[in-house]
């Protein structure tokens, strides 16, 4: 048996979380140091896994399988492929930077880090799950800490409303998908929840067409798909900074990823049948999300809706069901995760100092926070799809793929890039350049070293993937091939 590296990645956060709860509440520094140590450990392991994935071999690697509930054919079965490897790395990165950004949190940091780490375990678990039951198990673990994190440490104005809305939306989605999963289990007659077995179950076309929407949308709710995106901007805005980073950066990918893994990969015929109209919904996501982002005046809402728009591109890439679109969507999940984590980190830093997020009231932050400004500009360029940064590597194939199925959709979707550029440039101009309002004169301080480390790491990843895409695309391509095989050639 090989070294159980994926299990260690999955369980490091939750075990740390429990250990943190055992530290007396007053010893806050020890809580933070423990959290940071665990985050570094998980990050190191996820980097190691990412780079030691054997691309030519393809398929699922680092597989571990233990019987969990043999009577139901449920096993603890983990492994990663080219689609999930970048997402595991992404989670490691966001977890690490999230801990750095939350260093200054003073209200019950012990509980905060414990819940955040339970969430991280859920996320890692979903990305590596190869068993349908296990995927649900970890999916739900990822949902409920979100409620507490937002409700307790979130923005006072909307946190109770947003937290409840988010939790109920996601829970409804997941339990509806759960009924679909049970239907798959009993219909297959294989007596197993193992997704690698269920892939071969050969469900009838009628069954697939009936159940695909339930399963796909059940998960895609968390991916922010129109018209079920409504929870997401509210949730992003109400959440504390590190949780917004986790939430937009990683959690939304969880939805997209599960919709892919369970919806498209297990019910490929259903996917082919329904994707014709689902791609229209994703178009609404992309354009409408960008438009709403443009008209917001609250800095954080702008970023929140931009996430809806960018996640729409992910879903659109999936909906093409072709190699280019899938490849782009795979890279976009990673690229958007890092980018949006960077955005929310910046928003948090600005808000912590200015105590307002109204864009017209801000200005001139370039003078006080030069590095933050630079990081935001890099993130902004990524979000506009500027060549040389990771956003281009992701969005270009998506548009190519969409062009292959429906050229006019590609044209309309491309408009969103213009809209994105308009709101990003407006923010850069208003918030970071321009005059410093009098009320901020003199008492805005620069960010701490830890914050800078986080920003530099996130920006560096965006640049590296942009100028050296070979670090990621072959990997994602191997994952895409796996999906295309299930879709029957193409």
């Amino acid at each position: 048996m090989q070294f159980p590296i994926l299990s260690i990645i999955v369980f490091t956060p939750i075990i740390t979380g429990i250990l943190i709860l055992l530290i007396p509440a007053e010893r806050k520094t020890e809580v933070r140091v423990t959290a940071l140590a665990a985050a570094i450990f998980a990050l190191a392991l996820s980097i190691w896994v990412y780079f030691s994935y054997d691309i030519p071999a393809g398929g699922y690697q680092f597989i571990e399988k233990y019987s969990w509930l043999p009577q139901f054919g449920i096993s603890y079965h983990v492994g990663i492929d080219g689609m999930s490897a970048p997402l595991v790395l992404l989670t490691g990165v966001v977890m690490f930077t999230g801990v750095l950004i939350s260093w200054g949190l003073d209200d019950r940091p012990r509980e905060f880090f414990a819940f955040l780490f339970i969430l991280a375990t859920g996320v890692f678990g979903v990305f590596v799950a190869l068993d349908l039951f296990m995927l649900f198990f970890f999916y739900e673990i990822a949902v409920f800490p979100m409620y507490l994190l937002i409700a307790i440490w979130g923005w006072k104005e909307t946190r109770e409303y947003a937290a409840m809305k988010l939790t109920l939306y996601l829970f409804i989605g997941s339990v509806i998908a759960l009924v679909g999963a049970l239907a798959m289990y009993f219909t297959s007659g294989l007596g197993t929840f193992d997704m690698l077995e269920l892939e071969k179950a050969g469900f009838s076309t009628d069954f697939q067409i009936l159940w695909f929407p339930f399963v796909f949308f059940g998960f895609a709710v968390l991916g922010g798909i129109f018209p079920f995106h409504n929870w997401s901007p509210d949730g992003h805005v109400a959440a504390p900074t590190a949780v917004s980073m986790f939430h937009a950066g990683v959690l939304m990918k969880l939805g997209a990823f599960a919709a892919l893994r369970v919806g498209i990969m297990l019910l490929p015929e259903g996917a082919k049948f329904h994707m014709g109209w689902i791609i229209l919904l994703t178009l609404v996501n992309v354009v409408y999300g960008a438009y709403i982002a443009m008209v917001q005046t609250d800095f954080k809402y702008v970023i929140g809706f931009s996430s809806v728009s960018h996640m729409g591109l992910v879903a659109m890439g999936f909906a093409t069901l072709n190699a280019d679109g899938m490849l782009g969507a795979g890279v976009q999940m990673f690229s958007h995760g890092v980018m949006t984590a960077l955005f929310f980190a910046v928003v948090g830093m600005v808000y912590d100092r200015a105590h307002t997020r109204e864009i017209p009231r801000l200005g001139g932050f370039r003078k006080m926070m030069p590095l933050v400004t630079l990081a935001f500009i890099i993130g902004g360029l990524v979000s506009m799809g500027m060549p040389g940064l990771s956003g281009f590597i992701a969005e270009f194939p998506i548009f190519m793929g969409v062009w292959g199925t429906a050229p006019w959709i590609a044209i309309v979707a491309a408009i969103s890039i213009v809209i994105t550029a308009s709101y990003i440039i407006r923010i850069i101009g208003r918030v970071f350049f321009g005059q410093v309002p009098e009320e901020f004169e003199g008492h805005i301080t620069d960010v701490s070293v830890l914050d800078k480390v986080a920003l530099v790491l996130l920006s560096a990843i965006l640049i590296v993937v942009g100028i050296y895409p070979a670090i990621m695309t072959p990997l994602v391509e191997s994952g895409v091939n796996n999906i295309l095989r299930l879709l029957g050639g193409a």
């Binding site: 969990w68 198990f137 739900e140 307790i152 939790t167 339990v175 009924v179 049970l182 009993f186």
Partner: protein, 483 residues
Amino acid sequence: MSEYVFEPWWVVAILPEILLVVLAIAILIFDLILPLESRRNLGWVAAGGLGLILVLGLIFSRPTSDALMWGGMLAQDWLGFTFRMLFLFAAAITAMFSMDLPRLGNRGEFYVLMLASTLGMMLMASSADLIMLYLAIETTSIPLYVLAGFLTQEDKSTEAGFKYLLFGAMTSAIMLYGFSLLYGFSGTTNIYELASRFQQGIVSDATLMGVLLLVLVGFGFKISAVPLHFWAPDVYEGSPTPIAGFLSTASKAAGFAVLLRVFLAAFPSLAPYWGAIIAALATATMTLGNLLALAQKNIKRMLAYSSIAHAGYAMIGVVAVSQLGASATVFYLIAYVVTNLAAFGVIAAVGRITGSDEIASYAGLSRRSPWLGIAMLVSFLSLAGMPPFGGFIVKFVVFAAAVEAGMIWLAVVGVLNSIIGLYYYLTVLKHVYLYRSEDEGKPLPVTRPYAVGLVVLILGIILIGTVFAPWITLSGSAAAGLF
């Protein structure tokens, strides 16, 4: 019934019941000789004794084969055994949670009544004869009436006891009438013989269904299924908190034990009819319980409605009329008993200090006592059906049973209901974790019995929620005897 000749293993099979009587007598004696100040320790005696009986039962009284004993009065099988052990566990925890309550924990008769009721439940779970069953139900109920009204100085407690008595006596009379008709038609009171007699077609299915409805009234009262749920909120609110917990867990599980045995073992041929009725009742029970729980301000009333809703989920497994369904119900009850005891334990521990059961009085609990906050978090999330806690896997199994039986609609109803459930459980947790209160600075001491009991229960909730296989095996073998 002359074929039953005494065999020595009969004694071993009911060893837990025998020891329970011995324990009750021992507590009565201790109650006489212990000075008043140290009578609280009777709780330790009761809990320790019950724990010991549980261990001895697990070692010596495990059923080897399904058989009737004691003149056909009792059945020896895994169904009964599983529930009997569960009742012993619940009673031990309840004894611990009662110890530090004023005018309750230092009175010997309290523990004796509780043990008598536990004895009744254990006999209920293994009764194979209608007469034995009726006696067992009354042995369970009568001490519970007294326990519900135990705090005689409080009007609400008195009201609870009286209300419980009236409803209980009424439904039990209707059920007894149903029993008498069953005997009149078939000429036997043995549950297993009833099945074969009725298969000869002595009476029409319609008549028999009518009789079964009468019986269902009695069982429905025990499990607090709609429309026989009215008593639950008032009785839970007024009863001493540990007794409310005992009522909502052990007493309800006992109701399910007889429901499973009588309906699945004795009337499988009528399953399409009573299945439809119980499916309708399950839907109504889940939905009404959850909807009414939304509006509650008092946490005990809220948990009463929540426990009504949980009875609805557990009924889904009965409706499925399958091996998987019955084992799902048993598994559901195991997890539910452990979880709900923890919830009531926290409430008892908090209410003891704050003197209030209003949900609003839980504001700031996580700052006053982080560990009670965590215990509440775990138990409520488990009730809501979140992993990695026990509530998730059991809901999963119950819904799986419904889907397997082709009742996808019932699984969907259950799923939608669990969303409503999540809402009100989270609302309570919001008070615990989010809201501030003026009393935050005041300490909230947790005495040792609560600490021990809650740690056991929380570990149990997580154990059920992560290591499933042994529990499924256990509940599977409990269900096997029914088919």
